[in-house]
């Protein structure tokens, strides 16, 4: 694991609202340098868990340790080292972008200069808009400003709760690249909760999946997903012949579904070139090979189990 020290340790976190159990038993660890995916369906308790880690919600029971310190006793020490966006980033509409950053920077516990503020604004691509009031900002611009606010005090840990919500495809790509940049160039640890599983799959190094307030599984993304078979779609010119060839090679049981000229096979990654060679050597033209909904499938399987 990158760095070996744990940045986040959550142990048996519980949060009840009267009879309603928002979080029943969540435990996970985040290591330094991780891009940590935090997954779960709606109502699983993701937001509650994240808000509890940020002391927005007080837990019913359980322990949360960040940077080796207990959140209950060393709150200010911990929060000084965290930058976060919880749901959508909201700012003071009647203030400019620059003023908003200054306000939050002043409370960050470290000294932040005006030049630093301008540097961050430029970094997130808002140069020239710093004097504009937030009322005129688009959602994407506010998201960028949210990222700026997160980074202004150079935190060690960045927590992003649904950061791509409401963004267009370009915006999503930008956020993804930014997160990678933060990890690779600035050695930040990122905790990222998202519904867009493909994004998590592309950038997360480790992840935890929770459902109904409980941890289902956690671990390295590659290990968790590689242990599972893939669903691979082969687009061919002769479906019947392809089926025959698979039957001859005792691979017909791997057929998951046939859609028009596309055949979905349940095979491991190693079998992909084998099936491709089988088709090509026997006169079946292969137009495309695509690994479909890997994490999504894994996720749904776990949730529905």
């Amino acid at each position: 694991m990158p760095g070996e020290d744990k940045i986040i340790e959550v142990r048996h976190l519980v949060k009840h609202y009267g009879k309603f159990k928002a979080v029943e038993d969540v435990s996970f660890d985040v290591f330094r340098g991780d891009v940590y995916g935090f997954l779960g369906p709606n109502g699983a308790g993701k937001s509650t868990t994240i808000r509890t880690m940020l002391s927005l919600i007080s837990p019913t029971s359980g322990e949360i340790r960040l940077f080796g310190k207990n959140l209950l006793t060393d709150r200010n020490y911990i929060l000084q080292r965290i930058g976060c966006i919880v749901e959508k980033p909201d700012f003071y509409k009647y203030l400019s972008a620059e003023k908003n950053l200054e306000i939050f920077a002043r409370l960050s516990g470290v000294s932040v200069t005006k030049s630093k503020v301008h540097e961050i604004i430029e970094f997130v691509g808002l140069k020239g808009r710093e004097k504009d009031k937030l009322g005129g900002f688009s959602h994407g611009m506010r998201q960028r400003l949210g990222i700026a606010q997160t980074l202004i005090h150079d935190p060690e840990l960045i927590i992003l709760d649904e950061p791509t919500t409401g963004l267009d495809p370009q915006g999503i790509i930008d956020i993804r690249n930014l997160i990678l940049q933060l990890k690779n160039e600035r050695n930040k640890t990122v905790l990222l909760s998202s519904h867009i599983l493909s994004e998590i799959e592309l950038i997360a190094t480790r992840m935890v999946i929770i459902n109904k307030g409980k941890t289902i599984v956690q671990g390295s993304v590659s290990e968790l997903l590689n242990a599972q078979e893939l669903i691979v779609a082969f687009s061919v010119n002769n479906i019947e012949k392809a089926k025959q060839l698979l039957a001859n090679a005792s691979l017909d049981k791997t057929i998951d579904k046939i859609e028009h000229n596309s055949m979905l096979l349940h095979i491991s990654q190693e079998k992909i070139p084998v099936v491709n060679k089988l088709f090509c050597d026997n006169g079946v033209d292969v137009y495309s090979i695509e690994a479909k909904r890997k994490l999504e499938d894994y996720f749904l399987k776990l949730i529905n189990a």
């Binding site: 919600i57 976060c84 009647y94 203030l95 306000i103 409370l107």
Partner: protein, 280 residues
């Protein structure tokens, strides 16, 4: 960090358009009163001196800046508390409505300090409003009407306070008036901790003030027992500085009641704000 947070709160209050409603309203209301007094002030004076005018004549500059200032201070009953609540009632709930509370409470500063810094900024705003009112009433009033003795009509008669004796009375009167407005600010801030929108605390504050004023005015034995403990009963304590002899005990009693309310309400606000789960 506390002072940085307080500075932040000043900036926010100064940037909000609603903060200037209070200043504008005071300017307008005081301006109207000054204009009305300039146009027809002597008739108003006649109403006050009428019971005595059969046998007595009042000479001197009765309609002067000091009297105008005194009349304007009477507005403290309903108008200025509303203007204060407009801003202080929004201090916590406004953050919730805007969503900024999520960011604010994830900063390395305790919730108690954040609340106190908001409270301090709210008190500073209250002070500025009162100062502006004092300026308009006393300075502009004296510029327009000149200066002179102050004639006050109480329910037990007329009292004439000489001009050299008025400076400390106004100073202390304004101080106690500030205390009563701070009580209103504290109430609205406390209610703000229980709400996710701005309108609720503002309307609730005014409703409580109106209700308590009504209870205070009713001559019903059951209600008369609680009247001495309502903060609205003591919101006019500043007026006691314009009596002779000075009812020191009564003034101190009023100050204590107001302070008890402030401390009690702040305690409730602190408890609620610290325990509150931020779900929005």
């Amino acid at each position: 960090m506390f002072w940085k947070s307080t500075y932040n709160e000043f900036i926010k209050i100064a940037a909000k358009p609603r903060s200037y409603i209070g200043v504008g309203a005071i300017t307008l209301i005081v301006g109207i009163i000054l204009f009305a007094m300039k146009a027809d002030g002597m008739n108003f004076i006649s109403f006050v001196t009428a019971p005595f005018e059969q046998s007595l004549s009042f000479e001197g500059n009765i309609l002067n800046g000091n009297l105008i200032a005194f009349i304007i201070l009477q507005m403290l009953i309903i108008h200025v508390p509303l203007l204060i609540a407009l801003v202080t009632g929004d201090l916590v709930s406004g953050e919730g409505a805007m969503g900024t509370i999520r960011l604010l409470l994830t900063k390395p500063i305790s919730r108690t300090k954040i609340l106190f810094s908001k409270y301090l900024a709210g008190c500073a705003y209250t002070f500025i409003i009162l100062l502006w009112m004092g300026f308009m009433a006393l300075i502009v009033g004296k510029w327009l009407f000149g200066t002179g003795d102050l004639m006050v009509l109480n329910s037990d008669g007329l009292i004439v306070l000489q001009e050299p004796d008025l400076g400390w009375r106004f100073a202390l009167g304004f101080s106690v008036a500030f205390l009563s407005l701070v009580t209103v600010a504290t109430l609205s801030l406390t209610l703000s901790c229980f709400s996710e929108n701005s309108i609720g605390p503002i309307v609730s504050t005014m409703a409580i003030i109106i209700l308590f004023n009504i209870i205070g005015a009713l001559e019903v034995p059951v209600l008369q027992k609680i009247q001495p403990y309502l903060f609205t009963t003591h919101m006019m304590a500043w007026r006691s500085f314009f009596e002779d002899p000075l009812p020191t005990e009564k003034i101190i009693h009023s100050i204590i009641i107001l302070l008890v309310h402030i401390v009690g309400l702040l305690g409730i606000a602190m408890y609620k704000f610290n325990k509150k789960d931020i779900l929005s």
